[in-house]
């Protein structure tokens, strides 16, 4: 089962051959092109590959609709223009300016990200668009009182560039230079996508709140996406400025942004190979339309409309032509399907020795002290106090609207209590963000299922490992040992946990998207994802909802096993009273946000207040 991930990546001979072939082709093409016109298009293609991949980081990986992207491209271009020309009479060396402008642009990206972090979807789009417009207005108008940007006339004639002893002057040299950086961007994109950061971005794109609740530091990752996109755009801007030997405000205008967006969307948001192909297609094809003026831009408009209606996942979306068809493990040699329940019981471990079983401890793990949550005038949770001991299974029951899920939201940090306190292992959780709560050792599932639907089962679970890993972008981009070790550990832990659910979540299903799972299996995957966070305390919100009686029995046993065999402490919300009866050490009943009863199942079931809350008062 275990495979070294590096060996998997490089050991594949057809893959090495493919890469070598590609590099050879890319270096031969400049010498085969008929004239400088086509050579320039070839070079521009490389530049657009770079630009599209940069946008793909923000808009594709992280799903942030950043309409200021073209302004970052411009900041890179104008930085080079100012620092490497007669305009301000500054003549700094190219490699230094390239680095400087990339990092400067990244700074702008971070700043924009920081102010617009709270915004989602179209609001974010509009704020970034406004930013891009301000940038354009500044470019146009900052030629007076002091001439900084050159206004409409732009800045032109820059220092020829030297790159570590190499003089870049000829069109062929530019082709090599720009495709070299395009190649680096492709490699970096692949590496970052298959890392904890890449998975974190994808999770944010799918469901930001669920990502945060699974331990993903969403604020940090969104900033990283903005920064990464801006970094690439800044570098591309510098290269572009040098290639064109001039910069004008029009180079960094809205239509240019639409072109880059079309490339990314044509290829499929987040799909690296697709985006590269999209960039190549949309740089070369419109050349044949150049004489037709506005038709070219009309075409881009149509591409967006048609793609969104027919193939929003892009041309290459969901076509995985590099992966093999996997054999279904639930078919035996004769080709007959076996029931997956059979596989489940086959995979189930023999019962453990009674001696190694875990039992309720004495230490208090979680304590709610008069925790309250008010929405407007309504008390959803009203001065609720209770304690949960180590390795205890405590059930929270009550009629609909009693405030059970609100209690979970309070503990997991999604809501902050209006007043009162929540202590976990003696420390207050007040003020902690959900991802910090996860790090403390609490993980939850959601009543209405919030999986990352477009991600594979394996990746869904791996997202849970985010808070237990720490490799940063540098470590990931350079494949440093830290990153490699963490990835192996992640792979191992994830497969261990999924293994507990037998064939339902393992084997060929590793690569299956969560959206294709049955309802019951989605509930199981949510539990697996929560377990992957290395939580000590699991908050399970209606784990058996929507399951048939057979599956319910199975889930009941599984929850008990989680405590008995693996030593988890569990707080569970459940409506099915036979489940509650079987698993609970203790039961707390809520009604209108208040605790109306507490004790063993039998005590609670016979409590007159509970009977009244469920069935109404006897006349």
């Amino acid at each position: 089962m275990q495979q070294d991930s590096t060996a998997k990546e490089w050991g594949n001979p057809s893959r090495i051959l493919f890469v070598i072939g590609l590099i050879t082709a890319l270096s031969v093409i400049p010498h085969l092109l008929p004239n400088n016109y086509w050579l320039r298009i070839y070079t521009m293609t490389g530049l657009f590959v770079m630009l599209a991949l940069g946008l793909n980081i923000v808009a594709g990986f992280a799903g942030l609709l950043d309409l200021a992207y073209v302004a970052f491209f411009g900041i890179g271009g104008y930085t080079f223009a100012l620092l490497s020309s007669n305009h301000l009479n500054i003549h700094w060396p190219f490699p230094f300016v390239l680095l400087l402008s990339s990092f400067l642009t990244m700074g702008f990206g971070l700043a924009l990200g920081a102010v617009s972090l709270r915004l989602k979807g179209d609001y974010l789009a509009i704020v970034t668009l406004a930013f891009a417009q301000i940038f354009r207005l500044l470019l146009l108008n900052l030629d007076q009182p002091v001439n900084i940007t050159g206004g409409v006339n732009g800045i032109y004639s820059f220092d020829p560039i030297h790159f570590f002893g190499l003089k870049i002057l000829s069109p062929v040299a530019y082709a090599y230079l720009i495709w070299f950086f395009a190649g680096l961007t492709v490699l970096a994109s692949f590496r970052i996508k298959q890392s904890r950061i890449g998975r974190g971005w994808e999770a944010i794109r799918e469901d930001e709140l669920a990502a945060e609740a699974m331990g993903v530091h969403t604020t940090l990752l969104k900033l990283m996406a903005f920064a990464g996109g801006a970094w690439v755009a800044g570098a591309a801007g510098t290269l572009f400025a040098s290639l064109q030997d001039s910069v004008f405000p029009n180079n960094f205008d809205f239509p240019q942004l639409v072109v880059i967006y079309c490339m990314v969307i044509l290829g499929g948001l987040g799909n690296i190979a697709g985006v590269v192909i999209g960039a190549v297609l949309l740089t070369i094809l419109p050349e044949f339309l150049r004489e037709y003026g506005a038709y070219r831009m009309m075409l881009y408009g149509l591409i967006l409309i048609v793609l969104m209606a027919l193939r929003p996942q892009g041309l290459l979306g969901e076509i995985n032509f590099l992966s093999k068809i996997r054999k279904r493990p639930d078919k035996d040699e004769s080709g007959v399907l076996k029931a997956s329940t059979d596989l489940y019981y086959q995979a189930e471990n023999p019962e453990k020795e009674a001696a190694s079983r875990h039992a309720v401890g004495q230490r208090v793990m979680l304590e709610l002290d008069r925790a309250s949550m008010q929405f407007g005038g309504l008390s959803a949770v009203d001065n609720l106090s209770f304690t949960l001991r180590e390795k205890e299974i405590l059930s929270l029951i009550g009629p609909n609207g009693a405030g059970k899920t609100t209690v979970f939201n309070l503990i997991s940090g999604i809501y902050q209590p209006s007043w009162g306190n929540i202590l976990f292992e003696g420390q207050s959780l007040t003020g902690l963000k959900p991802h910090q709560v996860v790090k403390k050792g609490i993980a939850r599932t959601f009543q209405n299922l919030r999986l990352f639907n477009q991600m594979s089962i394996l990746d869904n679970t791996k997202v849970g490992r985010f808070s237990r890993t720490s490799a940063g972008p540098v470590s990931i981009l350079f494949h440093l040992p830290k990153h490699k070790k963490e990835e192996q550990e992640t792979e191992k832990r994830t497969k261990e946990i999924l293994g507990l659910f037998g064939a339902r979540l393992t084997g060929y299903r590793y690569q299956q998207k969560a959206m294709f799972l049955s309802y019951a299996n989605r509930r199981r995957l949510e539990i697996a994802r929560a377990m992957a966070t290395d939580a000590k305390l699991l908050l399970l919100d209606e784990p058996s909802a929507g399951m048939n009686p057979q599956e319910t029995v199975e889930m009941t046993r599984f929850i008990k096993k989680l405590r008995d065999d693996y030593g988890y402490t569990i707080l569970v919300i459940e409506h099915k009273l036979n489940v509650v009866k079987t698993i609970s050490d203790r039961v707390i009943v809520l009604d209108y946000g208040r605790k109306i009863a507490e004790g063993s199942y039998d005590e609670v079931a016979n409590n007159p207040y509970v009977v009244e809350a469920y069935l109404g008062r006897k006349k």
């Binding site: 799903g63 609709l65 102010v115 617009s116 709270r118 915004l119 979807g121 179209d122 609001y123 789009a125 509009i126 704020v127 668009l129 406004a130 930013f131 417009q133 301000i134 207005l137 500044l138 146009l140 108008n141 709140l209 809205f254 239509p255 639409v258 967006y261 969307i265 003026g293 506005a294 038709y295 831009m297 009309m298 881009y300 408009g301 149509l302 591409i303 967006l304 409309i305 969104m308 209606a309 929003p312 929405f375 899920t405 939201n409 999604i414 959601f446």
Partner: protein, 310 residues
């Protein structure tokens, strides 16, 4: 300071005129957002095409820049035809580009709208060219009404016309939404489309109607601006769209009276800003307002903050 105070009444009138136009554009954004939760990026282009339609009607009814029928009738026809054309265009856009995406993520809708915007803008560029088209309106208005002065304030017939038309249209819309059965259906659909559907409201029809009304008002705004500033070109929709959206956000998006208030407020702010900043940075003021409102009060001045449902 005296200088600014002296200018104040004039700037208020200018702001009110501009604000009326922004409010008309903002209504289109807000109505669509209220029902589909989408930002109709193409709305600016619908406004622009409204402006071109007004110009076209004016040209059709003029000979050597002199109207061939009664001037009042010309202005009325310009407004009516541009509202019709923009309204129908808005409906078509909804049918072609938005309806197939009704159940898709909102981001897809926004991108499709972006596509429509680019398409329409370049369609006009292709057939009308990049040059601005001029509204020859001098002969539409009797000479003594072109520009006149009341106290310190310079007024013109067109300014008054714009303010009157804008406010009449807004009053009519408010009455329709508040008092008629169809208005009730619109409000119901905005609150909960699914529930409205189960109550027997044909929400497809309501959505079409919303696009028709919103786009028609946008078209009217296009013609009014043409009459006021006497020109239109293929690129005006982009800026106007952003202004309209800012106005809608300022008042609280999804809220019709908010859009009216936001439009007028934005017009006034922009007018006052021109007294303090160079004219070139007038738009920067708008964008800064937009960014600040979205970040600190995304629910707008009169909207209400709603907690996120988990």
């Amino acid at each position: 300071m005296d200088f600014y105070l002296q200018q104040l009444p004039q700037q208020l009138v200018n702001g009110l005129t501009l604000g009326g136009v922004y409010a008309l554009i903002a209504i289109g954004y807000t109505m669509v957002y209220g029902i589909l939760s989408m930002l109709n990026f193409a709305h600016g282009e619908i406004y622009m095409i409204g402006g071109f339609t007004g110009w076209w009607v004016l040209n059709l009814l003029s000979k050597d820049n002199v109207p061939i029928i009664h001037a009042g009738l010309v202005i009325a026809l310009m407004l009516i035809v541009s509202m019709l054309v923009s309204g129908l265009l808005g409906m078509t856009v909804e049918r072609v580009a938005y309806r197939p995406l009704r159940k898709a993520p909102r981001i897809n809708l926004l991108l499709s709208a972006l596509g429509v915007s680019i398409f329409l803008q370049n369609l006009v560029l292709q057939y009308q060219g990049a040059k601005a088209r001029f509204f020859h309106i001098t002969s539409l208005i009797p000479e003594h009404l072109r520009v006149f002065q009341i106290g310190d304030v310079m007024l013109s017939f067109m300014r008054i016309l714009v303010i009157v038309v804008a406010f009449v249209l807004m009053a009519a819309l408010t009455l329709m939404v508040k008092k008629t059965k169809i208005g009730k259906a619109m409000r119901a659909t905005a609150q909960d489309p699914e529930a409205a559907l189960f109550m027997g409201i044909n929400i497809d029809r309501i959505i079409i109607l919303v696009f028709l009304i919103g786009s028609a008002l946008g078209g009217a705004a296009g013609t009014l601006v043409g009459l006021l500033f006497t020109q239109v070109d293929y690129y005006v929709g982009f800026q106007a769209g952003l202004k309209g959206f800012t106005a809608a956000v300022l008042g609280g998006i999804g809220n019709i009276s908010g859009a009216m208030l936001g439009g007028i407020l934005l017009g006034l702010l922009e007018s006052l800003a021109t007294t303090f900043f160079p004219a070139a940075y007038k738009d920067v003021v708008t964008f800064v307002i937009l960014i600040l409102v979205l970040i600190f009060r995304p629910w707008g001045l009169i909207g209400k903050k709603l907690p996120e449902k988990v």
